[in-house]
Symmetry: C2
Subunit: 452 residues, 2 copies
Amino acid sequence: MTTSDRKEIVENIEYLIKENNRAAVRSIIIDTHPADLAEIIQELDDDDRDFVFSLLDAETASEVVTELDDVTREDIVSDLEMARLSEIVDEMDSDDAADVVKELPEHIAEQVLSNIEPQDRAEVEQLLDYPEDYAGGIMALEFIAVYDDQTVDDAIREIRRRAKEVEDIFNVYAIDRNERLVGVVPIQSLLIRDPKRLIRNIMNLDVISVTVDTDQEDVAKIVRKYDLAAIPVVGPDNRLVGRITIDDIVDVLHEEANEDIQRMAGITDEEILQESSTIRISRNRIPWLFISFVGELGSAMVLDHFHATMTQLLISAFFIPVIMATGGNAGIQSSTIVVRSLALMEGGASGLWRRVIRELRVAVLNGFIIGSLLFAVITIWKHDPAFGLVGGTAIFLVMINSAAFGALVPYVLNKMNIDPAIATGPFITTANDIFGLLIYLGTATLYLHYYA
Amino acid sequence: MTTSDRKEIVENIEYLIKENNRAAVRSIIIDTHPADLAEIIQELDDDDRDFVFSLLDAETASEVVTELDDVTREDIVSDLEMARLSEIVDEMDSDDAADVVKELPEHIAEQVLSNIEPQDRAEVEQLLDYPEDYAGGIMALEFIAVYDDQTVDDAIREIRRRAKEVEDIFNVYAIDRNERLVGVVPIQSLLIRDPKRLIRNIMNLDVISVTVDTDQEDVAKIVRKYDLAAIPVVGPDNRLVGRITIDDIVDVLHEEANEDIQRMAGITDEEILQESSTIRISRNRIPWLFISFVGELGSAMVLDHFHATMTQLLISAFFIPVIMATGGNAGIQSSTIVVRSLALMEGGASGLWRRVIRELRVAVLNGFIIGSLLFAVITIWKHDPAFGLVGGTAIFLVMINSAAFGALVPYVLNKMNIDPAIATGPFITTANDIFGLLIYLGTATLYLHYYA
């Protein structure tokens, strides 16, 4: 569905609701994929969205809720009556149900859990015990497992028995009689192999799995590296407890990239793109503005310290922005590449010096080019080749300093178990500004002292 | 395999090569997954890497080549003899083979193509005709399709026939006798349904597909939205021509996120993290440094224009960095959120004003907080509440201006079909610096003129 298709449907629905034509709205809904319905509902206003949602059967509603963004989901769920909410949660896969229940106020969550089937309740409660952002917190309990002494035919029977409940069966997992994960059989093998063969004799022994306490980012790296469609999750003693499918991994990759990008821009926690509360957005953004503000008071002190130089050589003030900005950009380029390397390549300290030296080489080259340009500009514009030399040399040194700092800081933060992504934001820029001004005005002062 | 496991294996291999113990190296290799081998090879030096690679059988070598980063792949492939290279390419899936052949010098590519099986050659040549970064350029020609008037049993037979060639069969596609895509059957349905039933009667008619000329970013959005494990690709007249599996989509998502992040940092094209050529890195990074440099000469002109103000009121120079930096950061926060919204939510101009107003509200609140702080700092530090009022008012206005600019520019670029990600880089920072200085020194000049 394209954006313009969606816009048309949204407009049609808005019109039909105004006309009170419930049947026509219902007929649009029936023809629309739940993922599209979720997008449509997100674009409707509060009353229309509750109305459309009320027309959905429980199964569709459960799929739509799973696809909604967090803000809209909270809105809709908080307006639902208990019976309806319980019915919807009951239709969900265990992992989605746990995600919804987790966000509910405690007394409502308890009521919902007591309303759903006891088996589902036990599953959701089990999942709620695992921390978010770890394999245990994103896995589902719906998967197909058979004992390794069962046959291919037994596995097919098991799939048939649970067909309605387990979607996207990419693999059947083989466990021993102690429930320990011992192998994996791709579903297509079941079609090809003799039904009487033992699972043990056809399974792949090199089964890649994660434990419930594996960080979701590491799970995503493993799935990506080994090109998996699903990964089994084991608990203590290698006992099979759950499965994470690729669609959830894609969401993790997405979330992590978004978080990294936002963090690089100096936004503390991931800001939901649909967030509309000014206070919440402000609270999330002000910490780094504050840090930058305090840091730049350091710059003000540097300038105060060099006020004699600036008074005698007012021209030096004119080039403060170009030196701060170009140095800052060189630093951000370096830190971004190092942050990405740390995030993607699991690069330890082994590559540190090679990386820093590479960044320094680039900074020397780019600094020389930009420095020569600044020399030329000052010489031509201000007819002052001597000060041109001061400016050119200073920007050259500032760029090298910024690049070195930009390359080193992420490693230091990583060592301290702080997300290095914050290094590319206001933090490094502010530090580079202070050092940059010290280098620039220091050079200008030396020049005044000895040559002017 | 953890980073420390890998490091140990790398060290063992380096030692064994020095000892000339080929058998021991080979036995390590046999036990290691190709994806891990690729990582190990990336950490070895040139000679060791060629040696280890030479020990791999053609099938493993083909899998390793597929997993290598671009720089290492180019290195290794360029050292291979024609016969060996052809043998390796012959083992690959069509899409991976096309990726490798595409990077070869033309005369070598032709030789390789003439060495591999005619059927494979035709497939690779077909794929090479599609532009990169589109569905046609990332699809594979390995998939299972059956006519909709065939039976479940026929489909199982087809899977059995092509089992060695097609991996990860998540779905069987149903085509009519004109090769047009008409339906999809999840592989698990084949296990459950009566073998004599017609595909037509069990297939899902709502098959989600893309065309060969769909941008890979849009393909990824669709796969993510509908939680697919693979998506069929159709040519003219809805004829089924290929399939893209989720592992390739994960790579696309990854590449796009990486590209966005780097672009936001002012890096022109995606810089490969293993890139080691100073010249190539420099060339990729200098354009935005240059743009920022030229832009900041604008800042220098602004300062030059206000030199009288700065001479009379030297204190005004001290707060240039804090105003530039805090305003710049507020602008980057706004533009990052807008860029992400445009990238992820297909949000058209419809949400533009709502978004800009939201950013302005946040800027007013955060600007007021930071402005009050600056007023307090100048009053306490410089005992100058009047100039404190000037500084506080200016930073308040600058932050609002930057946020508005940060929110608007990405929309404008998007409209002009320019990637809005570049807006968060040096571009917006530079523009914000110039406007910021105009606002700040303009305010200071008005103050001097009327009140001082």
